[in-house]
């Protein structure tokens, strides 16, 4: 019969997350799966509660987009006892829990940072370059990973240096505010060669701050960020942004396929289904990508 799948979603903290939710719904509808989404409002407690109630409702499978990598052992054990397969979406959990889930459909956020760093290193070449970094929320694993990946990538190039790094909480408003103060602190922004932001939203804010300060983002100052949300393509099309690394909102599609195969034929999927971290630059016809992404619920 029809599959019923419970999806414990983190919340709706950004446009990307909203897109992930709506794409998941679309994908589920395409496959005629009954997807129950429980929104955890950014709280792990709520996610655990949601998983417990999915178990109580005896769903066919559970999707989990974990808000944090640790702390899932006991609740996932309960799911295992109840013989409900669990698929992780978007983020991985701590290695100790490997046998507790069927598969994880995620991107590698360290790798995302590396892609961004490599692009910057390649673009800058041998020239000395002072980078300012807009971090994600302090304590968020994605922020730490994207920082780590980027740092690793530029460590190979002694001409690249992160001179300032402050959190912009993954938001536009804070990205703008932090960038404003970076500009003040770096002599009106003249000494800044590139901006790296852990997500596109902060970068959109930072671009506004640079424009207001009379700087030319995309030209005088290079920008690279992660997520590939539509608005960054708009900026790219206007020549105000240079590069973004895609984090696809379609995690549910591969996950649904894996579950269907598992239920029908007992095919055990690989432990990790990695999504692509594709780099987009101004050379990729940003306007077209913008139009194609607009309708996805970002």
């Amino acid at each position: 019969g029809q599959l019923t799948i419970g999806f414990s979603q983190i919340g709706s903290e950004s446009g990307w997350r909203a897109a992930e939710t709506s794409v998941s719904k679309q994908e589920a509808a395409k496959r005629q799966v009954n997807l129950k989404i429980a929104d955890a409002q950014q709280k792990q407690e709520n996610q655990i509660k949601a998983i417990r109630s999915f178990i109580a409702q005896n769903v066919d499978a559970i999707f989990l987009a974990p808000v944090v990598s640790t702390g899932w052992d006991s609740v996932l054990k309960e799911a295992k006892e109840a013989k409900i397969p669990v698929v992780l979406l978007d983020r991985d959990i701590d290695p100790s829990g490997k046998e507790l889930y069927l598969t994880a459909v995620t991107s590698d956020s360290v790798h995302e940072g590396e892609v961004a760093g490599d692009w910057l290193a390649k673009t800058v070449g041998a020239k000395a370059c002072n980078i300012v970094e807009l971090q994600g929320t302090v304590g968020a694993s994605v922020a730490a990973n994207r920082k780590k990946g980027f740092d690793t990538a530029i460590a190979k190039h002694s001409n690249l240096k992160v001179v300032r790094s402050q959190t912009g909480d993954f938001t536009r408003a804070k990205g703008k505010e932090v960038m404003e103060s970076f500009i003040k602190a770096e002599g009106g922004g003249k000494s800044i060669c590139a901006v790296y932001a852990h997500n596109d939203d902060m970068m959109v804010g930072a671009i506004q701050a640079m424009k207001e300060a009379g700087l030319k983002p995309g030209k005088e100052i290079l920008t690279v960020s992660i997520d590939a949300v539509p608005d960054i393509f708009k900026a790219m099309a206007a020549g105000e942004a240079n590069a973004t690394v895609e984090l696809t909102p379609n995690m549910a599609g591969p996950a649904l396929d894996a579950i269907a195969a598992f239920k029908d034929k007992g095919t055990v999927p690989p432990k990790w289904i990695q999504t692509e971290s594709k780099l987009y630059t101004a050379a990729d016809d940003p306007q077209k990508i913008y139009d194609s992404k607009k309708g996805l619920g970002y």
Binding site: G6, K36, D39, Q42, I48, S53
Partner: protein, 326 residues
């Protein structure tokens, strides 16, 4: 002071709400869901017990969520990185958090500052300190953790009464007894009734203030340990915003924010009401992020409005005979 009528009303609200939910989702009326309700809200029940004391005494403690977060990080690091035996780590963190609460109480009393702001600074401080310890989440693999999280009393019907639920129930009962049966409890009510009068009647207001905030932070520390059992990890961003959930639970439980009235049992019921709202929304499972928020708000309103209506009904004007006996 007896606190019975408001508690009774909250209980009626809870039972009514539970019945309504069960009509829509029959699965809710199972020991499994009830067991989950207790387990999932164990840490909330513990902090809310401490918060009840604070609020009855006329104060407020915004730092509890951060103290929980700090505790989880501290415990995880102590056990996993510094090699401290778990029980020692627990004792250390409880001493630390009690000291933290005592310090806030002392600042409030000695410098005559509003608790709201002092504990807000405490909230920043504890959260900031946990960032300094570690911004990553640290898994805890100590055997005691799996032992404790696997322990559960089986209830008829498939439900589980877990260790942390039992800890919470014990603390709620202990808190209720402390508040209603001891001199300390009476003094808590006295402080909330009127600080100046309590002082004139010989209550050591300063010492009481320090102790009350100490108790609250201590219970937040215990809640942090319970939270770390719940998630087997320490994470600096855990329990963000829990202070508001806690205050809401206390107030829904019939405690007046102005102090002087309330009960621990009421708070416990308030915690369950909050948990029930969450469970209901999870069972529904069709709500988007925003409808979840709106539904939470509407249900919160419905519960409080129902409660107010019942209170109004109960408060039929029955005049007390106050004359002198002849």
């Amino acid at each position: 002071m007896k606190g019975l009528p408001p508690v009774l009303i909250t209980a009626i609200v809870l039972v009514l709400g539970f019945a309504l939910c069960a009509v829509q989702f029959p699965n809710i009326a199972s020991t499994r869901v009830v067991g989950n309700l207790l387990t999932d809200n164990a840490f909330l029940g513990i902090v809310a017990t401490g918060m009840t004391f604070v609020i009855i005494s006329g104060g407020i403690d915004l730092s509890v969520g951060s103290v929980i977060g700090f505790t989880t990080v501290f415990v995880a690091l102590a056990i996993e990185r510094w090699g401290v035996p778990p029980l020692v780590a627990f004792v250390a963190i409880l001493v630390l958090s009690a000291g933290f609460g005592a310090a806030m109480g002392a600042v409030i009393h000695v410098f005559d500052l509003p608790p709201f702001i002092v504990t807000l600074a405490g909230m920043f401080l504890a959260r900031g300190a946990s960032f300094l310890l570690s911004t990553e989440s640290v898994p805890i693999t100590a055997p005691i953790y799996s032992t404790v999280s696997d322990f559960a009393l089986r209830l008829p019907g498939g439900g589980r009464l877990t260790a942390i639920a039992i800890i919470m129930l014990a603390i709620v009962i202990g808190g209720a007894l402390l508040l209603t049966l001891t001199r300390f409890g009476a003094n808590v009510y006295a402080l909330g009734g009127n600080r100046v009068a309590a002082n004139l009647m010989g209550v050591a207001v300063g010492r009481m203030t320090v102790r009350i905030y100490m108790l609250s932070s201590l219970l937040a520390g215990i809640a942090g340990i319970v939270f770390s059992f719940y998630t087997s990890a320490g994470y600096s961003l855990s329990a963000v915003g829990v202070e508001l959930d806690t205050i809401a639970a206390v107030v829904i439980g019939g405690t007046l924010l102005t102090g002087g009235q309330g009960s621990v049992i009421g708070t416990f019921l308030g915690v369950l009401i909050q948990g029930l709202i969450q469970t209901y929304i999870n069972f529904d499972g069709t709500l988007s992020s925003w409808w979840t928020k709106i539904a939470t708000g509407v249900l919160l309103f419905a519960f409080i409005a129902l409660q107010q209506a019942l209170v109004a009904l109960a408060r039929r004007p029955v005049a007390k005979s106050a004359g002198a006996a002849s």
